[in-house]
Symmetry: C2
Subunit: 427 residues, 2 copies
């Protein structure tokens, strides 16, 4: 089968970390060849890759896309003050149109910063997010945030509905998980019910775990055990389990995670801003636990910029461990790509390799901050910013080229978004 898209003379990040100038051939939705030769590139769409750095599209392993609506709405305050008095009251007023507008703005922001896949957990109307995934051409892993302390069954039913309506849809670009919110919002009985339901559908689980010391202390007080110890008895961990945050962990919990192949979405920016603490990521990686990266929602980050999370991961653990060798540049990039793919449970993305899905971001290396181009991986992690993301491809389809969006109308989306925010704040 002949290729239909070829990226020529591009710096390619190979899975082993080497960077080579080559041509990437894409046939349908997959990478079909990476070669020094441009033979058989006739009759293809050509993207001139000179001076550009091709990396696997970033995978945001934990976010709440529509929280873009609340970006900079309430910052620099204590967590419970922020949640109780600011975030939760206004979230309760959001309607279907708000969720849609927030997710569209998020899609614009993510594509423009080089992200191709995102793992999303939010409240009602997740089908609006699914439609945005469909329309934008991005890849999305979606779940309904399930809070069991009121109307838990009703919420669970909407997650089932989401699964039935959208899992595997949008050309296979949508995957649906179940989203128990956290141990402090979901009693064990409710978690067991979610495990039964998700298990019967073959769905995986995404859940906030061990984010703050308050959460741990509350859990120990309520159940006499720590969060992973509680969750381990509900059946959830056996289904394929992506845990967001994982900041405060006992050795026993780390052993539970390892034994159950729990995957982690590390959110350094959010953890720093909310002062949750520093996840023991080097220790988790040394135990063979999969650690991806996420931005968390734009209300607590305050953006959806994965390159920032990559840099924070590379910097934070060096200073935390007093070891300049921790999380070198390539490892940080892998957390946002290859490990991120494993975190969200998609086996054929996250590497630039023949047979993998053509989810690719090209960074423009022409800016001053990229000079001299001695080591593109180091430059990407330690020097560049996401405005260098030039071209974004998902499933072989071009979503952005020369920073121009191809599937979404950026100007219209921003205008509609701001009009929605204005109405929401006036409620």
């Amino acid at each position: 089968m002949s290729a239909n898209l070829v990226i020529t003379n591009v710096h390619v990040l190979k899975p082993d970390g080497k960077v080579e100038v080559a041509n990437i051939f894409i046939t349908g939705d997959r990478i079909s060849k990476i070669s020094n030769s441009t033979a058989n590139a006739d009759n293809c769409t050509i993207i001139d890759g000179r001076g550009k750095f091709a990396v696997p599209g970033f995978i945001n392993a934990h976010t709440h896309a529509s929280m873009t609506l609340l970006r900079s709405y309430a910052d620099d305050m204590a967590l419970m003050e922020w949640l109780n008095n600011h975030i939760w009251p206004i979230e309760a007023k959001m309607n279907r149109h708000d969720i849609r507008a927030g997710a569209e703005l998020a899609a614009v922001e993510m594509i423009k910063s080089g992200t191709t896949t995102f793992m999303d957990m939010y409240g009602p109307y997740m089908e609006e997010v699914a439609q945005v995934v469909d329309k934008s051409g991005m890849r999305g892993v979606l779940c309904r945030g399930l809070i069991g302390i009121f109307n838990g069954d009703e919420k669970l039913a909407t997650n089932v509905e989401l699964f039935k309506d959208w899992n595997g849809k949008a050309g296979g670009r949508i995957k649906v998980m179940f989203g128990p919110h956290a141990v402090y919002t979901c009693p064990p009985d409710y978690l067991r019910k979610i495990a039964d339901t998700a298990g019967s559908l073959g769905a995986e689980i995404h859940m906030h775990m061990n984010e703050t010391l308050d959460e741990i202390n509350g859990c120990v007080k309520d159940y006499g055990r720590r969060p992973f110890e509680v969750v381990a008895e509900t059946g959830l961990l056996e289904l394929g389990f992506l845990a967001a945050h994982c900041v405060h962990l006992s050795d026993n919990e780390i052993e539970i995670m390892r034994a159950n192949n729990v995957r982690v979405a590390h959110n350094p920016g959010s953890n720093m801003k909310i002062s949750s603490g520093i996840s023991p990521v080097p220790k988790l990686l040394s135990k063979g636990i999969t650690v991806g990266l996420g931005t968390d929602g734009a209300a607590s980050n305050n953006n959806l910029d994965m390159l920032e999370e990559i840099r924070l991961a590379a910097l934070l653990h060096k200073v935390d461990t007093f070891n300049p060798l921790e999380i070198p540049a390539l490892e940080a990039v892998k957390m946002a790509t290859e490990y991120g793919a494993a975190a969200v449970g998609i086996s054929d993305i996250g590497r630039l390799e023949v047979g993998y899905k053509a989810d690719i971001t090209l960074f423009d290396m022409s800016g001053a901050e990229w000079q001299p181009v001695l080591n593109p991986v180091s430059l990407l992690v330690y020097s560049a910013n996401s405005a260098s993301a030039d071209t974004v491809i998902v499933d072989g389809k071009i979503l952005m080229q020369g920073r121009e969006l191809k599937t979404l109308d950026e100007e219209k989306i921003i205008a509609e978004f701001n009009s929605r925010v204005k109405k929401l704040l006036a409620k």
Copy 2:
């Protein structure tokens, strides 16, 4: 006197942290009026400030500009391996043309990321950096890095020469300090000699202080006291003293700093990457000590992007102290502007206020990551990246507009820089 430049309808960051839409009038090199009215704006150059956020130009209080030559040359290694086996051997091969090319690239990078003033310390040929300051239109505070353990007198003489040739030059945009490198490279006798020389010229001091635990331990071993205790007896602190890093400090040293009005250049990115440690910035600020921000050199950061340092300062100390209220957004911006001005000892920059120098950066707030524009200060610190820097003005002169440089030929500088790096690496 009538204005010659007016920025209309721009969001203005006032010194009290309030943001108001107004018109900024510039007469000569200073801000002459900030007003809701555009009366008397006829016959002026007009910059349309709609949708833009005007902040004081960033002040990079510690860098080594020409180290751009070594960006991504050697990363992810232990400090002494990095210095001894990589950085110092190649630095010894740099000639005058290299220093010039490195500083020109740095000027491009700094202007494009919104920086108007930089404090530079490097080896020989600092007059080349001075010429780049002159040509670029930026403001520069320059010193020769003085290493006393070989040819100390000769180096001191070049710093004297730099002072005599360049202090107050380039229309007053250049200030020259003296640059003792560190306690581990400058014995006390040499520090006293620098203090005498600088004192006789009325020059201030810039020095690396208390960066790593190795430095502290070595100092205690050699002199029986900690770095600030050693330096306090040399006369240097009385001259006006800007200390870079200040990561590891005893209470006695903090008291010495406070009593001598020592100013600090905090470099969170470099301190994290090299895993030096976390400076006790909230404690220093609470003692009334001036703390500015710096990028350090591009070999250890790896860029000259002050907005990244602003964000890191805002995030790092929150997680370090477990307090989400530490270093709120406005405080982080002040560290890069008003406090930075005090750090480098220039009294009339760092605030958008009548009578202050017109050193102004306009950020374009049209991108997705700036929506909704509820709180521009929060957005700048927690969401934007420096590619939003649209317009840069120094002394009332436009250095960049619409991201196009007005005083420097970006393309030519990048080509010459890369050609220089190639030759340097081939030596």
